[in-house]
């Protein structure tokens, strides 16, 4: 990706919607692009965790792991989404692990660049607060789901919030989905089968069609 392609890519991200032409030029000029191969972890040094990281392409997950190896995905990030926001606004430590679900490219903006950008136009902070507010809401939904709901209703909540025209295209594997829902792959598979038998969804490869939305909501 050359500098002008990079500029085009970041210009379209909502996070940078408040930047003017000159600021975009400077950002594209000074930013560093890091690669994370699929299945690799994104390890951050202090410097990386203090600056701003924005996913350019690919897909990464933020997850926690228990001592016995059970994994819980907290967020999945796509292009345009910033990450390590928590560490850059607090103690510089990452609150969870980051791993790439696909080959990914990450735009890194150094702490100095980032501070200059914010000083020049604090409006970008409002964009970042919006991102954090949305994530905090998502985290509350997940707490709600883990604490208050049974497995089929967690899955129903997932499908209901992500479908488009009654279809959910799973661009992640069922194994990854099970980590997002917070269940074992076997329990996920049983819940999917049950929903199919109940006639509320149809599963075809990686595409799930919602046949009976009211029925799904009733879980």
């Amino acid at each position: 990706m050359d500098r002008s392609e990079l500029r085009e890519a970041i210009r379209k991200f909502p996070l940078f919607s408040k930047l003017d032409g000159l600021q975009l030029d400077r950002l594209a000029e000074h930013a560093v692009v890091n690669h994370i191969p699929r299945k690799a972890m994104f390890f951050t040094e202090d410097r990386l965790a203090q600056g701003l990281n924005v996913l350019l392409s690919g897909k990464v997950k933020l997850f926690r792991m228990s001592e016995d190896g059970k994994e819980q995905t907290i967020f999945v990030f796509g292009p345009g989404e910033p990450f390590c926001l928590c560490s850059s606004f607090s103690d510089g430590k990452l609150p969870a692990n980051l791993g790439a679900l696909e080959d990914s490219q990450v735009l890194f903006i150094s702490p100095d660049e980032y501070e200059a950008m914010v000083r020049e136009d604090p409006a970008i902070l409002l964009n970042m607060m919006r991102v954090m507010a949305r994530r905090l809401k998502d985290a509350m939904d997940m707490i709600d789901s883990l604490s208050l709901k049974q497995i089929p209703s967690r899955l129903a909540a997932y499908f209901l919030s992500w479908h488009e025209d009654s279809k959910v295209s799973l661009d992640i594997s069922y194994r990854e989905l099970s980590k997002i829902i917070g269940v074992t792959p076997e329990a996920l598979s049983r819940a999917l089968r049950k929903m199919g038998e109940d006639g509320v969804i149809e599963v075809d490869g990686n595409e799930v069609t919602i046949v009976d939305e009211a029925g799904l909501a009733a879980y």
Copy 2:
């Protein structure tokens, strides 16, 4: 609380650490103080959810409730902590319910006042981002705990993160604690008894003493 007492109270809150004398004067002059009696809910109109609410005194909890009445506390806020940040930075809707654990006073800053304050000195936004970063981390810990840990280890994690000099003073009831940990009061009581029998903690009324920190961490 008169205006000068109000000014003194808010001057000490870390959230307002960047405000100068004139800004504090104006804030104390224009802010509205709302009361929430103990056990009452804090219902926000659109206007309230769009402005800035900061707890002046007392204690409030943010919680979700399932259809069958099971409750999960997400955060407990004390004096100086802002709330409804998610709604003021996104769609104006509260992501969860707010209820008062004690008689509480809330400082309300209208959207107009708030915008003026931010325009004048955006540094207050950085303070708010720090608050949100900390809450997002806390929410991740809770997801982790609900998803990956068993009840005694959730409780151990709670004690380990809140003790001071090996003592945890529960300024909330055991019933409220069970909602924070995400278990039934009976399960909490069993877990506390088990930890007492194992000799890792001693419970005396509302004070829990950690006798064996390594033992507690081993849960």
